[in-house]
């Protein structure tokens, strides 16, 4: 928000059943564990499985007092690529903002036209989080993996903090396997960022 440069706001879009609310919560716990103030909350619907769902997360070095929805996100995480033409996903996103989309396609293959022309190309990433989840969990739940990708993309939280928060949230072997998915997505996005950086310097 204006006047508070330290605050970082994230909006997560997905569908009911994909762990959209859980993702925001885990992200807030990761930030909290790193000694920061954080706030996570859902978009408060009585939505059923499969319906579009939104959750929010704020991270700040100061106490977070506001309770308005995130109107001007610094980052948008899209858990379900089929939402991109149904929902106004990028509302309020600044040109310095980050986008992370769960898809095996590349960002340019998604046909956003000239919408992102003014954005930083190394802040626009896709990540095949569902594939990663299927590989590590055996279930198409991309939420935790995307948080690994988010850590690589923004640096707002560390990979270690996400790893710890995921293991706290999911007990036992489910936690282990989610943590593996987090790591895989982190590595994937980190290498993609390097690729983009190399491409831009070449």
């Amino acid at each position: 928000m204006k006047g508070n440069k330290t605050m970082f706001q994230i909006r997560i879009h997905g569908r009911g059943g994909q762990g959209v609310v859980t993702a925001a919560e885990i992200l807030s716990v990761a930030a909290f564990d790193e000694g920061r103030h954080a706030q996570a909350f859902p978009s408060f619907g009585s939505e059923r499985t499969g319906a579009p769902v939104v959750s929010f997360c704020r991270i700040d070095d100061r106490l977070i007092r506001t309770h308005e929805p995130v109107m001007e996100p610094d980052a948008v995480i899209i858990q379900d690529v089929t939402l991109i033409h149904q929902v106004d996903l990028f509302s309020g996103l600044s040109r310095d903002g980050y986008v992370l989309i769960n898809t095996s396609s590349s960002f340019s293959e998604l046909n956003f036209g000239d919408f992102f022309d003014q954005f930083h190309p190394d802040r626009l990433m896709t990540c095949p989080a569902t594939d990663i989840a299927l590989e590590h969990l055996g279930r198409p739940l991309p939420n935790a993996a995307l948080l690994g990708g988010f850590a690589a993309l923004t640096g707002e939280v560390t990979m270690g903090a996400i790893d710890k928060a995921v293991r706290e949230h999911f007990a036992g072997s489910v936690g282990e396997r989610n943590a593996a998915a987090v790591k895989a997505a982190f590595d994937y996005v980190a290498s993609k960022i390097k690729q983009v950086a190399r491409a831009s310097t070449n």
Binding site: E25, F32, A40, F41, R65, P69, G92
Partner: protein, 418 residues
Amino acid sequence: MLRQIEGSRAIAETVALCRPEVVCAYPISPQTHIIEAVGELVKAGTLTPCEFINVESEFAAMSVAIGASATGARAYTATSSQGLLFMMEAVYNAAGLGLPIVMTLANRAIGAPINIWNDHSDAMAVRDSGWIQLFAESNQEAADLHVQAFRLAEELSIPVMVCVDGFILTHAVEGVDLLEQSFVDAFLPPYEPRQVLDTNAPVSIGAMVGPEAFEEVRYLAHLRQLDALERIPEIAQEFFEASGRDSGGLVRPYRTDDAEVIVVAMGSVLGTLKDAVDLRRDLGERVGVLGVTSFRPFPSEAIRDALKHARQVVVIEKAFSIGAGGVLSSDIAIAMHREETLLRTVVAGLGGRAITRRSLEKVLDDASDNELAPLTFLDLDHDAVDRERARMQATRRSGPSAENLLRDRGTVSQKADA
């Protein structure tokens, strides 16, 4: 211990620290996570001895609490919206009998049209019931208020309702510093009832009272609420001294000392308001915020004192009296009794409509330009209302208005900020 935790969970764990002996619950959104968590703590044996009763309605929930409290047990329940209305008869009864039940009200709009999202209509509907009503600004305060609520309720034999904005607070995961059991045990002594169903000293509770004494019984209840006006700040002070945390009290002034415009509100919108006011202060504008924590008893003197130098007072309310106007505003107007102060009502956030900082800044702009109407509905789509008025004029069977307005506005899921 400071934990990143859902508001409902923080409330439930704090309630458990208060060692309630009977908890009764009937599920209604957005109260559910609170009672689920208390139920889990009882089932796991963390909270013991405690009877957790799954009842068949909110009316039964409050009735079970009444029976338990009259038997000398510390009793707790939680509800929202329709649930509060469904138990309303028992809500009045608990207060009339002077039973110190504590209830969390996860504030939610009242239908029809059915709506599960936050506003304050439910709390306003029972403002005259004789319950003490405390509004939490944050989840930290929501948790802390419950400890103070049990203390207050049991000292004064008055039930206390802790009002917590549904979803906005109950479902928000934030850092909350949870109290220690030893702290709560020291702060909250065991319940010593004034009246109790005791086979060794039988009393009749709930006898019929005719015109010869009813007014006296009611006036006594009023006096006891006025006693609460003394005890609420004292208990908050004692809590502050013991915990270092500023939770509770009657009112919460923020940058009001030299403020020309003061915005009055209750609940979670205060945080967003404070951010907006800070931005204005940075620009040199003299604006402030007055949070009302205790809505019943109504702290008229504290409010009068806090508002006495303001040129304009803007009351932001998440409820209103249809056909009349602001509810909190009416109380504020009586409390101020100053004709030279401009009093403006802004109805906002009905049925969960987000109150954004941007909209609040617009309110502050209009206030400083003296352009705020006496009664404003924030972010209201007047065109949509006009179109429905036109439909109603054009044809007798215009159909259900709520559905017409929904169709007019398009579906909610298409909007990212819905």
